[in-house]
């Protein structure tokens, strides 16, 4: 975090713009200066990422580094609040559209657009100079990668997830609180519910994004929240905080520091597989009930299956899923498109 250079006129403008939060004692003028001098990485600019980015931009966080691998689509507009029909018509990458919209909301801060897939090859570079990382992703592989990178660099990060009308969030401060793998040692197996198969409601997104943004502000202000898992039930207007205790001895990420997701030893193996198709491998030992997956995907697109494989046609692509979790995505040679489709419909 860097403290901005003194500029009396600019300082007056800032304190006027942010007057309603500067007057809140835990923020104050010193706190506002800290926010203005801070950099946050928003990993994923979908539903949660949109809400988080807007809240932090309006709060005057000085630099937002916006990373996303996807392009805007019509069905995003129901809950991804940064975007509108004008941006959709330009067929922009989400990171670019988000940065443009953030600059319209607050032209006095910096919005960096990074339309790229977060991988072990670029994550440490994207973490450079970052004070806190916000999780706006929709898949476990990227979250475990963020967790490894956070442990490696000592950067706090804030997990968030949402599905249907419920969600959850937890702040992770390496060395002080449990990390993601202390709480969830391994990702859920593929084949579970995703927002594409189970749906997701905008108010639930905003509740989780608000919890995440508030956690980030507290971390930036030097008062990080306790190690708690906050659960959100938007349908019944309820939240609950569950004590997470201390970091877990023997945790492969934060105690043993294996960096498995960072160095590629764990995670989805993705590779080009012949002309116009990409293969995605699942972790060893995965076994899927393809019949159950077929039922879940029945409302999404055309599905056929037998005991060995399942074929889904959706969004102009073919997805062939095998019982060991491996999939071949046809209709693209872009690995990030294949990852995105797998995360959306199969889950990871």
């Amino acid at each position: 975090m860097t403290v901005p250079q003194p500029d009396v006129q600019r300082e007056d403008e800032h304190m006027h713009r942010y007057a309603r939060q500067v007057v809140f004692p835990p923020v104050g003028e010193d706190g506002q200066r800290r926010l203005l001098g801070s950099t946050v990485l928003i990993a994923g600019c979908g539903a949660l990422g949109s809400g988080i980015a807007e809240l932090l931009a309006r709060a005057g966080v000085g630099t937002l580094r916006l990373v996303d691998r996807d392009y805007l689509e019509l069905h995003n507009l129901q809950r991804q609040s940064l975007y509108d029909e004008r941006l959709l018509a330009e067929a922009l990458p989400k990171a670019v559209a988000a940065a443009r919209r953030i600059r319209e909301i607050n032209s006095s801060i910096v919005a960096e657009a990074h339309p790229t897939d977060l991988t072990g090859d670029n994550v440490l570079e994207l973490f450079d100079g970052v004070d806190v990382v916000l999780d706006g992703t929709d898949n476990w592989e990227t979250r475990y990668l963020l967790n490894d990178a956070a442990v490696r660099t000592g950067t706090p990060w804030v997990y968030g997830g949402v599905i249907g009308a419920t969600g959850m969030s937890m702040s992770i401060v390496p060395g002080r609180t449990p990390c993601l793998r202390c709480i969830f040692p391994d990702p859920p197996p593929p084949g579970g519910d995703t927002c594409e198969t189970a749906g997701v409601l905008g108010p639930a997104v905003w509740m989780v994004a608000s919890v995440q943004a508030m956690s980030a502000l507290r971390i930036l202000l030097g008062d990080p929240p306790a190690a708690r898992l906050t659960t959100v039930d938007a349908w019944n207007a309820g939240t609950e905080g569950l004590d997470l205790g201390d970091p877990v001895p023997g945790c492969p990420a934060c105690d043993l520091r294996t960096g498995e997701f960072l160095n590629g030893a764990r995670g989805t193996g993705v590779r080009l597989c012949g002309r116009n198709s990409v293969q995605i491998a699942a972790r060893p030992g995965t076994r899927l009930d393809l019949g159950a997956v077929a039922i879940r995907l029945g409302s999404i697109g055309a599905v056929r299956h037998n005991e060995h494989l399942l074929k889904l046609h959706v969004d102009g692509h073919g997805l062939t899923l095998f019982a060991d979790g491996r999939a071949i995505v046809s209709g693209t040679e872009d690995e990030s498109v294949a990852r995105s489709l797998y995360a959306r419909y199969i889950g990871h």
Binding site: P188, V200, L244
Partner: protein, 91 residues
């Protein structure tokens, strides 16, 4: 004593469409046993083939992770809560 059980909405089909319901038991251990006797499909979603809690599942008893409890022979009192959570992926 009745224990209030809360499960994720995504698992409501495993519990006759409910996300909140009561289980009557004398101890936490008995409550868990009765829960899975009553709703066996719930156990399939929460535990693997070796009867180990799946690694993306959390169970809290009165806000305390059951995994951190020394034993499950804890008397159930009126108002006690059992909260079952799964890691949430969407974003």
């Amino acid at each position: 004593m009745p224990l209030e059980v809360r499960i994720p909405p995504m698992l409501r089909d495993c519990a006759s469409g409910q996300t909140r319901f009561s289980i009557t038991a004398g101890t936490l251990e008995e409550a868990l046993r009765r829960l899975f006797e009553t709703y066996p499909l719930l156990q399939v979603h929460l535990y693997d083939e070796t009867q180990r809690l799946r690694q993306h599942v959390l169970i809290f008893f009165n806000g305390e992770s059951v995994a951190r409890l020394d034993h499950l022979d804890i008397p159930v009192r009126t108002g006690d809560q059992l909260t079952i959570l799964q890691a949430v992926s969407g974003g």
